[in-house]
């Protein structure tokens, strides 16, 4: 009799348990029906992972704002926007697996990512095959929007290496009057792409490129490489690096070796770096594709909101990531579909919205190669602060 009671109780409990799971599952399924997912690919571990909070913070802020305004209206029905983020470890094979998971399992409407050029290039092959629209807000490798390599579903609201280098090289030659440089960067897609672009453009501007040094991306000690470069006595050292950690290590060690003029990439444009370098950071220059100025109220207000929500100052990763989410939402609204990815892609290609990236009166739109036209300048650490010295933010 006692055994029977135990059996009946266990059966009831099991049934209730199954019912609870089914009900929960149903709820999830229903929620999914009213939600449009954006897939986000970011390096959440490894060297470039320091940039991840800046990207996902912007995605969260944009989604929160869009949903608070009522979400996306498609044929009279309101859809909420949400995101699913996976770690790429800044490794192409991990990025590809994550992209496939986003497309096949999570059924995302759009992919935003990755940060590392090598990952974006690898993921492009997946989005080309599956015809899922993809945008990168950070990768700068020329191939991404090069007509020879790109596909119709690929977009970028960030400048290419070529575009960035065009502005920086011009400023180096005309404003800073630099005569000779040496380049140093990691032996990966970013380092190779950036140093190649610099070599061609600087030479055409009459600046001598005395040496190009590529190092193992996992390396942390650069004293010997820098001492070898110093023997050729270049006027300036250009850091072709994507990982903020490389910026810090190279900037400090280059100062130790005695380099006076150092120009870092955009990932060096962080106020944290100025604090860490202290006096050695004074006069350190970097590419400045984005700058928060009280003279540009909409960017200034946005930066305040970003800091309130995420506890960090926005940077060159946050601003284009935020714009990208708004552009995706606008394209879905214009296409009036959450499932027809071809229609979303077509609407995205015609987008024209006011963004926070990159220069004060910037309007985000794409050319026939899916590339937004972005300008940049050079900034410098002065008194522990970022000061634009060339380009649109310096009033030039």
């Amino acid at each position: 009799m006692k055994k029977k009671k135990v059996f009946i109780t266990m059966t009831i409990v099991s049934l209730l348990f199954c019912l609870a799971i089914t009900w929960g599952g149903l709820e999830i399924a229903l929620a999914k029906d009213n939600t449009i997912l954006i897939g986000v690919l970011n390096p959440m571990s490894g060297r470039v992972s320091r940039l991840e909070p800046y990207s996902i913070g912007a995605v969260k802020l944009a989604i929160k704002e869009i949903n608070e305004k009522g979400g996306i209206n498609i044929k009279g029905k309101s859809f909420k926007l949400d995101y699913k983020e996976y770690d790429t470890e800044c490794r192409p094979e991990v990025g590809v697996a994550a992209a496939e998971r986003l497309i096949e399992k999570d059924k995302v409407a759009f992919i935003l990512g990755g940060i590392c050029s090598s990952v974006t290039l690898a993921v492009m092959k997946v989005t080309e095959r599956t015809m899922v629209p993809q945008i990168t807000a950070v990768s700068t490798h020329p191939k991404i929007t090069d007509p020879k390599y790109r596909h119709d579903y690929m977009f970028r609201n960030k400048d290419t290496d070529k575009m960035r280098i065009k502005y920086i090289s011009r400023d180096m030659a005309e404003d800073l009057k630099i005569k000779s440089v040496a380049l140093i960067g990691p032996n990966d897609d970013f380092g190779l792409g950036r140093s190649d672009a610099y070599k061609k453009t600087l030479t055409s501007k009459g600046i001598k490129v005395l040496e190009t040094v590529l190092f193992n991306p996992k390396q942390e000690d650069f004293l010997i490489e820098l001492q070898k470069i110093k023997r050729n006595d270049p006027e300036a050292l250009i850091l072709c690096v994507n990982a903020p950690e490389h910026c810090e290590l190279l900037a400090r060690q280059a100062r130790q070796v005695g380099f006076k003029k150092i120009i870092g990439s955009a990932s060096c444009s962080s106020i944290k770096l100025a604090k860490k370098l202290g006096e050695a950071g004074e006069g350190f220059m970097f590419e400045l594709p984005f700058y928060v100025s009280p003279k540009v109220p909409h960017v200034y207000q946005w930066a305040k909101k970003f800091k309130e929500m995420n506890g960090i100052e926005p940077n060159f990763v946050s601003a284009p990531s935020y714009d990208a989410v708004y552009a995706i939402a606008e394209a879905i609204k214009n296409a009036q579909t959450a499932t027809n990815l071809k229609a979303i892609r077509d609407a995205f290609a015609k987008i024209s919205i006011k963004g926070v990236y990159s220069y004060p009166d910037f309007v985000l739109s794409f050319d026939e190669n899916g590339q937004a036209q972005v300008a940049s300048g050079i900034g410098m650490f002065k008194g522990g602060k970022i000061v634009p010295i060339t380009g649109a933010y310096a009033g030039k």
Partner: protein, 290 residues
């Protein structure tokens, strides 16, 4: 910088790297010579030392030197617990000790990743980018500190082993364990002190290198591999050998990177290792007394 100055500069670079390898390798060889254990988790003690130093600076707000001491003390305590819980129960079983240290390596690394994330962190080095200049030669203060701190620790270790009662007991145990037991030496205590000392040395190397480079959960692997190369080059279980081996490996890296290719800098030490194994498999200083 002329050719001679460049060469001397590379010698300085090599010695400053090598001395840190030696600091790590001395702990490894100490454990091997006394306990007959090759501790693959030594790199993780190095990593923990760097992390505790980092957190002492950034959470508690201690100055760098005190943070380093804090890191060393915490890891010394952890090492004592590890010896008691992991290695003491399997004492005398070489295979089990290797497997246990490998397991411990993964456990500590995964725990650090889960607890602190995989993002690499950088300490606010008190030395910033300042350097000591001697004509055309220079040495960054952070590396000068690394050299001086390592030399002080080597001296402290030498004094402890040569002059103290426990040090003598450690030497006796490493020469003949059974004889030491007959003489009434408390072997349990010797093993515990050995492992604690080795952990403290690894933590000090981690704290010092973490302040020059960066701190991450996987930061211990490459130094561990290089330390193993160092102790094989110097002679397994030989403390002066570990110091000499560290300097040789550091110099090979610096000179190889300067005169051949910097891209293969992590390979030069293993080339030296193979060369030593072919010419003198027992290690360069194996004839020296422990």
């Amino acid at each position: 910088m002329n050719e001679l100055a460049f060469f001397v500069q590379q010698i300085i670079n090599g010695l400053s790297i090598g001395i840190i390898y030696a600091l790590m390798a001395v702990g490894l060889t100490l454990i091997f010579s006394i306990m007959d254990v090759l501790n693959f988790a030594h790199g993780e003690l190095f990593m923990l030392g760097a992390y505790f130093c980092y957190w002492s600076m950034h959470l508690i707000g201690l100055p760098f030197i005190l943070s380093l001491v804090m890191g060393i003390l915490v890891v010394a305590c952890i090492s004592t617990v590890i010896e008691r819980l992991v290695f003491r129960p399997i004492r005398g079983n070489l295979v089990a000790s290797i497997m246990a240290s490998l397991g411990l390596m993964f456990v500590l690394q995964t725990t650090a990743s889960l607890a602190w994330g995989t993002i690499s962190r950088s300490m606010h080095s008190p030395f910033k980018a300042s350097v000591l200049r001697l004509g055309t030669l220079f040495i960054p203060y952070d590396r000068l500190f690394a050299i001086l701190a390592s030399l002080s620790l080597f001296f402290g270790l030498w004094w402890f082993i040569q002059k103290t009662r426990m040090g003598k007991a450690m030497r006796a145990t490493s020469i003949n364990r059974e004889a030491a037991l007959i003489k009434g030496i408390d072997i349990d205590k010797v093993y515990m002190v050995t492992f604690t000392l080795a952990g403290a040395l690894a933590a000090s190397a981690g704290g010092i290198l973490g302040s020059i480079y960066s701190v991450a959960p996987d930061m211990g692997l490459l130094p561990l591999l290089k330390s193993i190369a160092v102790i094989i080059v110097g002679g397994l279980g030989n403390i002066p050998g570990a110091v000499v081996g560290g300097c040789i490996i550091g110099l090979s890296e610096a000179l190889g990177a300067a005169y051949f290719s910097a891209n293969y800098r992590d390979i030069y030490c293993f080339v030296i290792l193979v060369a030593v194994l072919l010419v003198r498999p027992q290690g360069l200083l194996s004839g020296w007394k422990r």
